[in-house]
Amino acid sequence: AQSVTQLDSQVPVFEEAPVELRCNYSSSVSVYLFWYVQYPNQGLQLLLKYLSGSTLVKGINGFEAEFNKSQTSFHLRKPSVHISDTAEYFCAVLAIQGAQKLVFGQGTRLTINP
């Protein structure tokens, strides 16, 4: 079975400051990793994904994440945030073999202050 822990439930940041949203996972098998963003009253939008290859992945809206296998982490970063980045962010894993179900973290609410 897989589990995902997002270490911060809320992250307040000033506009144009850098941000890091932390995600750690646990799995006995290899996994794919994802970050989704959810704006109020919207569905989830895929920000970026790690399937294989380079451990640094770039996504939409200037976000990037780094897969660290030894630390079982997949932290999300952005060098300079905007008010429009205010949203809920979910880290998720998908086992490459087996049940093929997305396992989500609890979510991190990112609030950008002017």
Binding site: Y36, N41, G43, L44, Q45, K101
Partner: protein, 115 residues
């Protein structure tokens, strides 16, 4: 653009009155999922269809049913909604191949209110 569409976006129903939420997709994906998401929580998988094969999660109440009449459409039926069923319902799709499946694509969700 290929997408996942959910109708309606907002649905109000009365306690105990059956309600159906719909989802359609133009991605031609073979897997369709239904999630329930309550406030400030992660989405919770209710069930999914892999082609015509229905897969129910063990803890999904019997009150929730689903139909997939064809590749493009999937419905969520709540037979007797209770106040605790008020939530956002998310439909998602993915493409499963012989090597597995990858990212899921989500619709905009239907916000269900039970009065």
């Amino acid at each position: 653009d290929a997408m996942v569409i959910q109708n309606p976006r907002y649905q109000v129903t009365q306690f105990g009155k059956p309600v159906t939420l719909s989802c359609s997709q133009t991605l031609n994906h073979n897997v369709m999922y239904w999630y329930q998401q309550k406030s400030s929580q992660a989405p919770k998988l209710l069930f999914h269809y892999y082609d015509k094969d229905f897969n129910n999660e063990a803890d999904t109440p019997d009150n929730f049913q689903s139909r997939r009449p064809n590749t493009s459409f999937c419905f969520l039926d709540i037979r007797s909604p209770g106040l605790g069923d008020a939530a956002m319902y998310l439909c998602a799709t993915s493409l499963r191949t012989g090597t597995g499946s990858y990212e899921q694509y989500f619709g905009p969700g239907t916000r269900l209110t039970v009065t």
